[in-house]
């Protein structure tokens, strides 16, 4: 069955069953490979996208639930917070294997858009859904503070 969904500002047609998770529609049907697969049960955040601006788990979001909603993926993520986060990730050399980092960056950029000067507790609260098996958490925390500073300046 064909669904029309809005991804990164474009209307796209996905020919798949209604229960197909957005994650697999993005990756397998639309060729958008930035969003990664980690657990499939909303427990790791590797598949984080924005749905109408909110960080959401695409692995548990069926395509038939999207309606008119606007989906944004790491492949097209941009803006002041996203730029600051990416630069901070490079400056502090955050990624190791990098596999979780699409989701980490989506979550961090969303946090900074809402809370420009987050505390450690704010960071823990916003980021605790995003697993990093390489345990880059220490640098993620520092990089978010660093990004917050650069956004101010």
């Amino acid at each position: 069955m064909a669904f029309e969904i809005t991804v990164n500002g474009e209307k796209r047609t996905v020919d798949a069953d209604a229960d197909t998770p957005l994650l697999w529609a993005l990756r397998d049907e639309l060729g958008l490979k930035g969003t990664k697969f980690g657990c499939g049960i909303a427990a790791c955040g590797a598949c984080t996208v924005y749905i109408d601006g909110y960080p959401s788990r695409s692995c548990v979001t069926p395509i038939d639930s999207l309606g008119e909603a606007e989906v944004t993926t790491i492949d097209a993520l941009s803006g002041k917070a996203a730029d600051a986060v990416r630069q901070a990730w490079v400056d502090l050399q955050v990624p190791q294997c990098g596999y979780c980092q699409s989701g980490q960056i989506m979550a961090a950029a969303a946090l900074l858009s809402e809370t420009p000067k987050p505390s450690d507790a704010d960071i823990d609260a916003a980021m605790s859904g995003n697993v990093c098996r390489c345990a880059t958490y220490h640098r993620i925390r520092q990089a978010i503070h660093h990004a917050a500073e650069t956004m101010e300046g």
């Binding site: 490979k33 499939g40 427990a43 590797a46 993926t73 790491i74 990416r86 990098g98 979780c100 220490h138």
Partner: protein, 742 residues
């Protein structure tokens, strides 16, 4: 066409049993290599196959030597013979080449070498290409520097010839070749074709460390920026035109086999193309991932469990515990431990338990294969390329030289991708064979497949009795270990099991650096049908915990400071003592610890590197605690990239601590109880302490950093809790001590 295509209806693939079992024996490996032994055959079997050679044949690229390609646009590709799974190896090797080549950092490009053990073997593994044991930089340090120096010399020779000037007057700096007197200069790309045609110099002189501009400096990892953009660099992302995706239903208990199955419901699912039996289980092949998963869930399979492992954690634990009270095979015996313990003023006894652990790398396993009947091409995060190549070849009935392995960036491994039986690539080969016609096929594992899939850090138990004299000196130590051998029955057994002792079961107890008199170590190796595997820091995952918490108990019993007690037992000037002193100093060891807080220490050597950690812990209500900070000191010889060393310490600590906090794999009647990150809950950001890493300056040859950060973390925390509460947690994960504590 190969013979297997003569019977396209042959789809069950199970009859010939090529790699049906979990663990090919050493004998099977020898057969696969024609009986001539691993090294010899591989060394000679793989000429001219790899991507590098193929690339060199194209005008666009110039292969200067097996490790360096210089492209006309000045890009210097460094071919990493090792997998990069986040440990920064590709970056490290790129640094070594850039250094000796006098390249500009921005022109460097880390890439992966093809599978070809004749050129790309890990010299620490003999004639096998692979990554593990924190050997990547250690075995490549001179090799990659020489490759860079050689490339530089060839560029200089090419420029000298082109400009008609003496080679001795040509300089290379920051990516530019120049001749001052004539004012001529060129980039690397302009001279690359001529350089590639030169015969390599017979010897090269390497830089003196005082001249280093990249080694020992914090260079920006070139893979970081793409990783912030979701770059499609992983095996997950590889999707050749027309690829079909398979999910495999594997046995619910290790060793079970398919008696029969009904695929009718699965075949009704939109997108499912075909269901077929392979030795590994039942494969549902679909147009894309989701229907493959859905189809797999819809299968009805009748499993034959007659040969399966049906013992659960409860039964295994009882068997291990009984063995702790029986003499085992002696792996170390100095003096008379029983006599010394009988005469000791005080004996401290401890029994320790360690669960099975899954590696759970962030990227679930995935592999793509395309077999055209002659050649097989494989794309995956390959960590033991040589074994992957052999197993795929053996399964498909072709020569290893007909298997091309494309190594991709891996989303973590922690040991999970270095598999003695290459079962992940093996399954792909089984599927390609069963499919029967040329078709790109990808096998996608779910997280449940990974968590339930075995190849765990084996469960272990230890029992230690250690005696003190009236002065508080250790007079004797008796140490018994019970657990599975990781390598028994595999091609790695001859190299790693000696006189019935698997070194990986005892390393860290055997050969520990403490001067302990009257020491006896014994091992019971048990046979369990759960496939075991090395897990970040291997034997040290349990031995460091036992040694370092016992030492703390003994220090407390002797009324001595834990750091001072250890220093007195370590040889004067030892590298253990060096890191221990540095960590203690940086952590403010000896300063008063505030109310409600506690501090603990541990030191351990693994993979030739020395690491000490001091843990600061906040004690909460009841059993609650939070690890606030870990101060880490490491001595790994020359620090090739200090920032990456720090990153590996942070990651190693997080990995060790995360599992110590709450992770375990348990079995009920042989079936794994955990399924996904809900029941095997990973460490999260709010569990992660602040980490501070200090590196001991050293001129020794570099040693590994991927694993050695892991072992001290859990014992340092157990020691802090002991210091704060007087309660000893000897079972991992810590949650399993609750109730008995406080």
């Amino acid at each position: 066409m190969r013979a297997i295509f003569s019977n396209p209806t042959h789809t069950d693939g199970s009859a010939d049993g090529t790699t049906g079992g979990f663990r090919p024996s050493r004998r099977q490996f020898l057969i696969a290599t024609g009986g001539a032994g691993l090294g010899l055959m591989i060394g000679g079997a793989l000429p001219g196959l790899g991507r590098a050679e193929a690339a060199a044949g194209e005008a666009a690229e110039n292969l200067i030597n097996p490790f360096v390609i210089i492209r006309p646009d000045d890009t210097v590709a460094v071919l990493s013979k090792h997998l990069d799974m986040g440990q920064g190896t590709a970056h490290g090797l790129t640094t070594l080449v850039a250094e000796e080549l006098d390249a500009r950092w921005e022109q460097m490009s880390p890439e992966f070498a093809p599978a070809d053990a004749s050129k790309y073997n890990n010299t620490a593994f003999g004639q096998v290409q692979g990554t593990g044991g924190s050997t990547a930089i250690a075995n490549s340090f001179t090799q990659y520097r020489e490759a860079g120096a050689m490339a530089r010399a060839m560029l200089v020779a090419a420029a000298a010839e082109a400009w008609g000037v003496p080679a001795g007057e040509v300089t290379v700096d920051d990516g530019t070749i120049a001749h001052a007197a004539s004012g001529k200069s060129a980039g690397f790309g302009a001279m690359a074709a001529a350089a590639a045609a030169m015969s390599p110099p017979s010897s090269v002189t390497l830089k003196d460390p005082s001249q280093f501009r990249y080694i020992g400096k914090a260079t920006t990892r070139l893979d970081v920026k793409p990783k912030t953009e979701g770059a499609p660099i992983f095996a997950l992302d590889h999707a050749p035109e027309g690829v079909l995706v398979a999910a495999i239903a594997r046995p619910p208990k290790f060793g079970a086999t398919v008696r029969g199955f009904d695929a009718s419901e699965a075949e009704k699912i939109n997108g499912v193309v075909r269901v077929l039996q392979i030795p590994a289980g039942i494969a549902v092949v679909a147009k894309s991932t989701w229907p493959a998963f859905k189809g797999r869930d819809a299968l009805k399979i009748d499993w034959d469990e007659s040969k399966a492992e049906t013992r659960g954690t409860k039964e295994l634990r009882a068997e291990y515990a009984a063995l702790l009270d029986q003499p085992g095979k002696v792996f170390q015996s100095d003096g008379d431990s029983e006599g010394a313990l009988a005469g000791a003023a005080r004996v401290i006894e401890g029994t320790f338990e360690f669960p099975f652990l899954a590696h759970a790398p962030m990227e679930p396993h995935d592999v793509t294969i395309h077999f055209d009947g002659e050649m097989a091409e494989v794309w995956t995060g390959s960590q033991l390329q040589t074994v992957d190549q052999m197993v795929a070849a053996g399964t498909l009935g072709i020569e290893a030289a007909q298997v091309r392995i494309n190594t991709l960036w891996a989303g973590g491994s922690f040991g999970r991708r270095a598999i003695y039986d290459s079962h992940i690539v093996g399954e792909a080969a089984q599927l390609a064979k069963a499919w029967g016609t040329p078709q790109p096929l990808k096998i996608q594992w779910s997280r449940e497949d990974d968590i339930k899939g075995g190849y765990y850090r084996p469960a272990y138990m230890h029992k230690v009795r250690a005696g003190l004299d009236t002065e508080g000196n250790i007079v004797g130590w008796h140490h018994r270990i019970v657990g599975q051998s990781i390598v028994a029955g595999t091609a790695f057994e001859p190299g790693m099991v000696h006189d019935g002792i698997d070194h990986t079961s005892v390393e860290g107890v055997a050969g520990n650096s403490y001067r302990i008199p009257n020491f006896q170590g014994e091992l019971h190796t048990v046979t369990v049908g759960v496939p075991p595997l090395w897990w970040r820091s291997v034997g040290s995952t349990h031995t460091a915990f036992v040694m370092e918490t016992m030492l703390d108990d003994l220090a407390a019993a002797a009324g001595r400071d834990p750091v001072e007690f250890r220093l007195a037992l370590l040889p004067e000037g030892s590298r253990e003592a060096g890191v221990l002193k540095l960590a203690a100093e940086k952590a403010g060891w000896g300063d008063p610890v505030p109310e409600g807080k506690a501090r603990g220490v541990a030191v351990h050597k693994s993979f030739g590197s020395y690491v000490a950690q001091v843990a600061d812990v906040t004690l909460g209500e009841g059993d609650a605690y939070k690890v606030d900070r870990i101060v880490c000191a490491v001595d790994c010889g020359v620090a090739v990239n200090p920032d990456n060393i720090a990153a590996q310490m942070e990651g190693g600590i997080g990995y060790g601590l995360g599992h110590a906090i709450r992770n375990k794999i348990t079995l009920t009647d042989g079936a794994v109880d955990q399924t996904n990150f809900d029941t095997y809950e990973p460490m999260r950001i709010d569990d992660m302490p602040f980490v501070e890493t200090h590196i001991v300056p050293s001129a020794e040859a570099p040693t590994g950093v991927g694993e050695p950060g892991t072992p001290p973390a859990a014992p340092a925390v157990s020691n802090a809790i002991f210091a704060g509460r007087g309660v000893r947690w000897r079972t991992l994960p810590f949650t399993d001590n609750r109730g008995g504590a406080a």
